[in-house]
Amino acid sequence: MDKKTFVGGVHPPDCKHYSAAKPIEVCPLPEQLIIPLSQHIGAPAKEIVTVGDQVFKGQTIANATAFVSVPIHAATSGRVMAIEPRPHPSGKLLPAIVIEVDGEDRWDPSLKGLDVAHWNSDELRQRIKAAGIVGMGGATFPTHVKLSPPDDKPIDTLIINGVECESYLTADHRMMLEHSEKIIDGINILRRVLGVKQAIIGIESNKPDAIACMTKAAAAHDIEVQALEVKYPQGAEKQLIDAVLKREVPSGGLPMDIGVVVQNVSTAAAVSDAIRLGHPLVERVITISGPAVVEAKNLLVRIGTPMEFLLQQCDGIKYELDKIIMGGPMMGQSQLSLAAPAIRGTSGLLLFGHQDLPHIEVGTCIRCGRCVTACPLHLLPATIASYAILGRFDEAEDYCAHDCMECGCCTFQCPANRPLVQNLRYAKAGILAKQRRT
């Protein structure tokens, strides 16, 4: 099959061998779940339970507070122990609902699937929002927002993201192998919501088994599977659309501006559960991997499970940890401790010792231009970074610094190991601050 791709990007070692062959295992319930009110892009949810309340699995415990916001659900049955700031993967202390697990894991009896007879766009969209579904690739953008294009933006194509271009991560890969039917069902529901016929699943060609599996499952449903070149960040929304359809999302715009909606494979599976069974998003598959972990695994984890508990399920660590990353190694966040919980956007938990990661001194730019070649958005990262360091945000803006998606290609490739992404973030913050002032 011919492999499509985009211009730019880098080739980090994929390191997926640790966990790619490990079937998804169900993670047991911890003693308590820490469920943050902010697990998505948009306004945090507002709690509707109080300390001491008994809750069912799947029960809404916090409501969406805006259009770009989603409700939060109890991930198992138990008692609300506390509502207070707790460590969050972002590194901050953020409000969370702590649930003492009763071990019975009883579903909320009021949750029911939606009969196919009632499948219309508005009802489906409303159900998807009520189930708290967000983009599970890591960006956690509320799915119902993506599914609500205004009338002047007709959608003609649904792209399903099965790329998983970040090294180490294999959660989506395992989902495609083990739950291909559910993903296809989710795609059909999404097509119904959007009223589109064309659906294309994009998968990197380093997962031939997933391509074969999805092609087989998709055959009867008029859904296309597109193999993509192995290159980071092939799974970034704009780069995926560019590769599959040769369309460029305008700067500052959304895929819906060019008639496209992109959803992750795990999101599609969650949509199927929400509509068929009425089950909200209370669990997800997380890859626990990295050279320091004793046994890498793909675990089906309840939202709110502390990372420390996840690590115990993998028999702990081989040697002293130097860095913990939530997400992938290119865009993930380093963690202060293992106290924070897994949330809806957690695709991976990666553990590294000192010798596993580069500790290189930062040098000066030798203008080699590798960052320019690597940048998938065709920016001049070195130039913008230099302006940012000097505080010259007008020039940084002129060089389109705010278009940067922080994919990390420039920093990965820089022979002087300059912290370009960090400088770019600084430039973006400076530009925002400047715009607010005027």
Partner: protein, 329 residues
């Protein structure tokens, strides 16, 4: 549980490429050329090489100490400048010429701008041009190649380009050496500075740099292409007055300049279109100087002039940003 965790901004992995490794690769790529120069010019060439490298390292260390900065000779860039400078000098250069050149290259060429990465002009070429203007006699005293073991003393000789200029000036037409002997030019059997002589050795080094992805095709192709095109047009106009494009390619410092000086990352554009413009500019200026200028050779002037134009070129060749219709300039 680890008591101390390392917190940092993403990305958390790195390609492993380093500035030192790039400098090392370029030095390795120059070794064949150094070896050929020592073969043809003997211990004289070796002495020039050693003096230039030692001089550059010493000057770099001195500058760092004076500026109270960490001594940066370990990054390999000073040693590389030394080798490139030596390859731009005649084998008969006196010791003081080599050392003075090294001092100029590192101080005026690089450190006054703030060291590695900040210089506007190629340091080795800055030094070459300063020496050429200040000491024209020593800088143009060429000797004929005198391979090790031939048992003859070095004799003075003109470079093919110098011969051409003299003949065109005196007789109004090209000398015989502009029509034949290309095989000798290719392997390096001609008079010239250390690094000018062997096209073969330079191409070997260039192949290594391409393989290591240290240099990209844009500047070499556009530079060589424009020399062939412009030189070729002139040759078609009057082949008695203007030499064959192949003569342009194989003589003088062109190949050394194309693959090792015009591709210097610090002093050339970072965008692809910028590199193409840079290469074409170098090619046109080189041929202009060779055919119509006061000096027989124009590669160093061409590259330095285009070095000066690099910030301007970068400004006007910004790539189209993804998702934008037009880019602002």
């Amino acid at each position: 549980m680890a008591p101390q965790l390392y917190m940092s901004s993403s990305p958390h992995i790195h390609s492993g490429e380093s500035t030192n490794a790039i400098m090392r690769s370029v030095i390795y790529a120059l070794l064949p050329t150094c070896a050929v120069s020592v073969y043809y010019f003997g211990l004289d060439a070796l002495l020039v090489l050693l003096l230039c490298v030692a001089g550059c390292l010493a000057a770099e260390a001195l500058c760092c100490l004076l500026a109270q900065q960490p001594v940066s000779i370990g990054d390999g860039s000073a040693a590389l400048t030394g080798i490139l400078l030596a390859l731009n000098l005649p084998a008969s250069s006196p010791w003081w010429l080599a050392l003075f050149g090294a001092l100029i290259a590192v101080t005026i060429g690089k450190q006054v701008f703030g060291g590695l990465g900040h210089n506007l002009f190629n340091p080795a070429l800055v030094a070459r041009v300063v020496l050429l203007i200040s000491f024209p006699v020593q800088m143009t005293s060429w000797t004929a190649p005198n391979p090790i073991g031939s048992g003859v003393d070095a004799i003075a000789a003109a470079t093919p380009l110098g011969e051409m200029q003299t003949a065109v000036m005196l007789n109004g037409q090209l000398p015989p050496s502009a029509h034949s002997g290309f095989g000798d030019y290719f392997i390096g059997n001609m008079a010239g500075s250390l690094g000018e002589v062997s096209a073969l050795a330079i191409l070997l080094g260039a192949a290594y740099l391409f393989k290591k992805k240290v240099i990209t095709w844009e500047i070499p192709v556009s530079y060589l292409g424009s020399v062939i095109a412009f030189g070729g047009i002139m040759w078609l106009i009057d082949s008695q007055l203007y030499p064959d494009p192949l003569f342009h390619l194989l003589t003088g410092g062109l190949l050394l300049g194309v693959f090792f000086m015009a591709t210097d990352m610090v002093t050339t554009p970072i965008t692809r279109n910028g590199m193409l413009i840079f290469g074409v500019g170098c090619g046109v200026i080189t041929v202009l100087i060779r055919l119509f200028g006061g000096y027989p050779e124009g590669v160093s002037f061409a590259i330095l002039l285009m070095n000066g134009a690099t910030p301007l070129i970068d400004r006007y060749t910004r790539p189209k940003v993804f998702g934008r219709i037009l880019h602002k300039t």
